[in-house]
Amino acid sequence: MTDLLGVARSLAQRADAAEEIEAYVSRGRETSVRIFEQQIESLSSAESAGLGVRVVSQGRVGFAWVAALDDSSASEALAAARDNSRFATIDEHGGLAMPDGVEAAALDLWREDLLATPTETKVDLAVELERITRAADPRIRQIVHSDYSDGMGEAAIATSTGIEATTRRTTCFVSVSAIAGEGDDSQTGYGYSAGRHVADLDVEKAAADAVTRATRLLGATKPPSARLTVVLDRRITAMLLGILAGTLSGEEVAKGRSLFANRVGEEVAVRELSLVDDPTNPSAWGASQADAEGLACRRNSLIEGGELLGYLYDTHAGRVAGTASTGSAVRGGYRTTPGIGARAVAMQPGKLSQEEIISRIDHGLFVQSVSGAHSGVNSVSGDFSVGAEGLMIRQGSLAEPVREITVASTIQRMLQHIAFIGGDVEWLPGAAAGLTLAIDDMSMSGT
């Protein structure tokens, strides 16, 4: 196997006196299985590798990537990145990360046994998931798909400014999408389980989630529009926290594209709300030792007691703001340059369970899934409007199912109207932890 750090180091060492070079080198192995009616519909396995090179010359950035690790491909990318840098605008804050003395957390995110797990075992998991989902309830009419997928990713970063870092992780995932039917009515439910190796996967839970979510929506109707308290299921809260963290990017703030610009020190949320991004927490799906520029990931408090404490920065945004990187650079792989993002956002949990929260609400809506979050949430203006389905809450209990509705407010208002924060923290795939969250005074649009 190619030594990734060796490749990165030898590229970074080619920097001349007038330039800085960063090499990001990564390799991944993936398996994915799709089962339909107890047979393998498709089975894919692949290994891929590539590198991305950033060249900074007099504050001008050029980037190039190539889907290969050999010397001539690396040289091709370096030459392209150098040429690209000639056309960028000179930026006094341009430049790569410098070692900042923060020690990387010792995290073990790699499970060697996932590599040794036979393909048959992976296939069997998805077959079993489909079987028990279908058998769980006579109203389950069809299984759209039952999937297993895993990935083993390794990356190395080296720069001519003295940064060296490596990261690696294994992940695996099973998911099932079920259709429940009764008469002409069809409803869908999605269930999943994720972990770092196969032993973490809970197929029973994934099946039960899909079945419950599909069957409890049967008979759903479109309710009259109302203003009410909305209870977000864990998955939805995690999505909301991801959006919220995006608005706290130091780059968006500096460029005047954040609704939280110039609000540090202000009460932006209810006192009960405290928010941190802590990728050093090994329970977090997005945990990582190093950020995408090779700096150690660290715990960053964003909101405490409702007060905005600060923003997330990478090296460039930190320099623009006259502060330092918070180790919050992320990248989508070797084909993209780093940007700013949260990896492990979590709210300080409350004490109530989901049932206890629901029992305290007289008239409300429990949202089990949302759609259109990518189109209906504007992270610059704060407008929030998503499609939703779920169950009405009446006198403290879940009542009739509802569908084809939207829930809307603004991010600013939602933070000021948080009614209950659940204690049911669950780390979900993605960059945030889920918990049950109740928000007052939201608009539900129906008939």
Binding site: S45, A46, G50, N84, F87, T188, K255, S375, T406, S443
Partner: protein
């Protein structure tokens, strides 16, 4: 096999922040036995690399007999829907950078409330060779170029955004179709117009979609549900409904990969099938679904040229190309004039659909109130929600105009470029997900 080069330039905050370029080359090998597909991909195009990828792909076929079969490949070439005259790689980087600065200047000069501008240029060239054990050998070359501008306007009531994208399956001659100035002005106008916007209404209202603004609705509301993979699994509301009236008789819906130079056009699809025009709904009656090689084979019919994949790293599946509603007879202005109270949508963001229930959402990124048959005040961004079959039956006016717009369609984690189009039309009632109570 595929060889793809791509380049991009981004401008933000008055600076060209970055130029990037990339190169990817590899092969994807698919082995189909009965209902099972084995797939592997590799960037190693040596004989050994291809052989080991083929073995990995064939590993699912454990019960299959041994032996080899020699297949004679016959090369087939199909007419390209568009000629590329200006390869982006032949254009200097400084000329591309210049476009971005021009867009920035124009957008900022449009209004003093424009607080921030970002703009992006991107091009890609994708060359493919496709061979299969039916003896087919063919290929395609697709050159796509895009240019987009995002503006932020600042006003007393906060920030608003406006964006506009120009994207076609063309080289640098893209900019002969439409200038960067027009794109920048449109993005700026959109952001500024929303500064005075009031909250969107909450509830069911008639909606008029401006031509070219809402093709995404038909892509989401029924296009996905007409993909044969959903049909054969009985996971679409349209399963078993060919010959049924599934829409207003005013509706004729077409998917057509040959419409050059739209964003979703191609010579052959990613399985080597020539792109073609497929009428999906004619005068409200469902005529056919969209098919790829696997699903067509299962039904003993021909593919409709809808087998697409993001890259050699991905498995092909049934996907749309350019999907559009044909124009009707109504005067677009009259459609508005005959709407006493409703919403006029000038620009839509993305959307999403649950094919099993037909429920969809999509975001309005520029919309206005219609009062007494006139377009009046702008409203803030909000989602619409509806049910595909229901909305199709509620189309009660179709204009004689038409326009298309580019989009990116995501399905099972794969993104492909698509075109969407429609004339100005009215839907008699859609749920508007705003916050303003009546």
């Amino acid at each position: 096999m595929e060889d793809r080069t791509a380049s991009g330039i981004s401008l933000d905050d008055r600076k060209v922040e970055e130029l990037s370029s990339g190169h990817d080359r590899g092969a994807g090998i698919r082995v189909v036995i009965g209902e099972t597909t084995g797939f592997a991909h590799t960037a190693d195009l040596s004989e050994n690399g291809l052989r080991s990828a083929a073995q990995a792909a064939a590993a699912v076929a454990r019960e299959g007999g041994g032996g080899t079969r020699t297949i004679a490949l016959t090369e087939r070439r199909f007419p390209s829907p568009n000629g590329i005259t200006g390869l982006p790689s032949d254009v200097s980087k400084s000329a591309k950078v210049e476009l971005l600065f021009r867009a920035d200047d124009i957008a900022r000069s449009k209004s003093s409330s424009i607080a921030q501008v970002s703009a992006g240029y991107g091009d890609s060239r994708r060359r493919t060779q496709i061979a299969n054990s039916d003896g087919l050998l063919t290929g395609d070359e697709r050159v796509r170029t895009r240019f987009s501008v995002v503006c932020v306007a600042a006003g007393d009531a906060g920030l608003q955004t406006g964006y506009e994208t120009l994207a076609l399956t063309l080289g640098f001659e893209l900019f002969e179709r439409r200038s960067v100035e027009e794109v920048a002005e449109e993005a700026a106008r959109r952001a500024v117009s929303k500064l005075q916007a009031r909250p969107a209404p909450s509830g069911v209202l008639p909606v008029v979609l401006q031509r070219g603004s809402g093709g995404i609705l038909f892509h989401e509301a029924c296009g996905h549900g007409l993909e044969a993979d959903h049909i054969l699994k009985d996971t679409s509301v349209y399963t078993g409904r060919v010959g049924d009236l599934v829409a207003s008789p005013l509706v004729t819906l077409v998917d057509d990969g040959t419409v050059g130079p739209e964003w979703g056009c191609m010579t052959v699809d990613d399985e080597g099938r020539a792109a073609q025009r497929n009428v999906l709904i004619r005068d409200g009656v469902l005529t056919d679904y969209m098919w790829d090689y696997l699903r067509a084979r299962k039904q003993g019919r021909e593919s409709s040229g809808n087998g697409r994949r993001e890259s050699y790293r991905h498995l092909p599946m049934v996907r749309m190309t350019n999907t559009f509603l044909l124009p009707g007879d109504d005067d677009p202005d009259e459609i508005v004039a005959q709407t006493p109270h409703g919403i006029y949508v000038s620009h839509l963001g993305g959307g999403q659909v649950n094919t099993a229930t037909g429920d969809f959402t999509f975001g309005m990124t520029e919309a206005y109130l219609i009062e007494d048959g006139r377009i009046t005040e702008p409203i803030r961004d909000a989602n619409l929600i509806g049910n595909g079959p229901d909305v199709l039956s509620k189309i009660d006016a179709i204009g004689s105009d038409f326009d298309m717009s580019p989009g990116t369609c995501g399905k099972d984690g794969q993104s492909v470029p698509v075109g969407c189009g429609q004339p100005t039309l009215r839907i008699s009632g859609v749920t508007i997900g705003g916050t303003a109570g009546d």
